[in-house]
Symmetry: C2
Subunit: 335 residues, 2 copies
DNA sequence: CTGAAAGCGCTAACAA
DNA sequence: TTGTTAGCGCTTTCAG
């Protein structure tokens, strides 16, 4: 075998080629001041000639930063999540950061282990849509040097930068809207009641019912998988005698829609329905779905923005960004 | 200032705490053989006590591997893509790898620069859904040590591991199905004709038309943004006098559906329609959409599988995995 | 079975 | 303005 040359050129190679010291090459790489134009040029050309690519691992090791952020989401298949990731990714890219994506599947233990992985990869920041809002289940494993933004959900009693939407208000509005159509037994269908979003939406729903002088009727399941046609028939129709439905998130909406069809009913025609969470083609259903629309991509961007402000400036109080949602009234509510 | 102790314990700290050498601690960390039970225990306990977390950056720097793979997709908002990422992510996690996600927005230059970023992060492998299938626009910047799997798309004249679906066959089947309903002026609506998937689907469509002794009628746009109601009216209806529509991907489907509505038509009722690509609630539209269903998550898993087999075993010929799609006949085709 | 010592590729004191 | 010299935290020859 011929003399083995590790194929990727290093900064040392560049320095040699340019006939300058390693440090000078490093300075050029980092656009430092205090380098003569002459040498800058020489180094640049050497890099070009050699096809030099800096090794981010080495850079990060030395500089104690990775130029990467981690994002942990419960479920990438949810269009809300996918769009949020998209937004975050764009902002990260614009800031020269890479995004390491992990998903928890809504499981706290998985979430925790993913966080450990990300931390050991030295991410500079973390954006997390927590799998459980009841208690802090992870900040103990995150070093103080890693900034955290929670996203979509909130965690009780934990001080962190957060991005959420106006869950409560819009849930109340949706409920009141349904009530204004004369619906009286409006049933809220939700899952994972321990989540902040679910709790807030329930609170908004209750407030709306109260405003309409109606008793609240909730059908909550621990896990979406319980949300079957049979369950709908028994809980929602037989027990609660629903004359309208308010689904509390995208998964619940899709499952309810399907369940209703199995029961021979059409959402919006046989029973008014409002959905929390918009999605592509919700407007093309018949009747078109009335929804609370969350600007998912903006949420992702905001989360990234909060994080990068910390990463640059660092200081200051924790911030809670609340992004407004909008009520999109189409037809399934009875309009 | 007091003596600064960098807060995260290192392997050196662990070794000290356990009163063994650095190398022994390293051996324990990597589960190497040849360490006495006694010391293994001591080291483990020391790690526990100190809350030690290995630094993956340092590990990767030394070992020339990052235990991370990169994935580049055109558009995360597309449910097909989101599901594929999801599948890939799971497999990566199971293999102890992290996924760095990047999106190209379908732009070759962005794609190239994202690849450079990922390469400089020393990813061990790359899964790419190429933004342009006409020519190789990136393999020159990928070191031989980084394995690449292309995904969804193929690139002309480039030898790589690939995962695709049976585009041609299913497009032909869908076309023939439409023809079997008596449709004669079946118009294929597609975008980005330079993409492998588009070309293959067109080829399948043409074959289907030929089999039905019908002349092909294609309406292709360079970019999805051209796909407006006006365009539909002019190209599809006035010029081609469509009596059936075959949309060639998800974006085209949603835009066509919306455009049709703007024109006062309902897909599947006023004009039969078949869609390449299924999505959530396609079955809940009225009439329910007939589609070619791509197993997106499986595609993602397969891509990961191919990549990890390379990463472990390394050898062998390039492999082309073709995942079968299924025709899901609902009602929009006229059934 | 164990350890000392030499780096991986890069950055940053500290001089010159 | 430039270069020398230590490391970052880890793995890994190569001796003991």
């Amino acid at each position: 075998m011929a003399l083995v040359r590790s194929d990727a050129p290093t900064l040392v190679d560049v320095a040699q080629e340019a006939e300058v010291s390693l440090k000078t090459a490093s300075r050029v790489l980092n656009n430092s001041k205090n380098v003569s134009q002459d040498k800058v040029l020489r180094v640049r050309q050497a890099m070009e000639r050699l096809g030099y690519r800096p090794n981010e691992l080495a850079r990060g090791l030395k500089a104690q930063r990775s130029a990467a952020i981690g994002m942990i989401v419960p479920n990438l298949s949810d269009p809300f999540t996918a769009n949020a990731v998209h937004g975050l990714q764009e902002v990260a890219r614009a800031n020269g950061y890479a995004v390491i994506l992990a998903s928890s599947g809504g499981d706290v233990d998985v979430e925790r282990s993913e966080i450990e992985t990300l931390v050991s990869r030295q991410v500079d920041g973390l954006v997390i849509a927590p799998a459980d809002s009841r208690k802090d289940s992870f900040t103990d494993i995150i070093p103080a040097s890693v900034h955290v933004v929670t996203f979509d959900q909130l965690i009780r009693n934990v001080e962190l930068d957060t991005v959420t939407v106006t869950n409560r208000r819009s849930a109340q509005q949706a409920t009141e809207h349904l009530a204004s159509h004369g619906c009286r037994r409006i049933v809220a269908i939700g899952a994972r009641p321990y989540l902040y979003t679910c709790k807030e939406r329930i609170a908004g729903y209750k407030a709306g019912m109260k405003a309409a002088a109606l008793p609240p009727r909730m059908c909550l399941v621990d896990h979406e998988s319980s949300l079957t046609a049979d369950w709908l028939k028994k809980e929602v129709f037989q027990n609660q005698k629903a004359d309208a439905i308010f689904t509390l998130n995208w998964v619940c909406t899709t499952l309810t829609l399907r369940g209703l069809r199995t029961l021979g009913k059409t959402a919006g025609r046989d029973i008014p329905l409002f959905s929390f969470d918009d999605f592509d083609l919700a407007d093309m259903l018949t009747p078109a779905l009335s929804v609370v629309q969350q600007p998912a991509e903006i949420l992702g961007r905001e989360a990234a923005r909060l994080l990068f402000e910390r990463l640059k400036g660092s200081g200051g109080k924790f911030r809670a960004v609340v992004v407004p949602t909008s009520l999109v009234i189409r037809h399934s509510c009875g309009c």
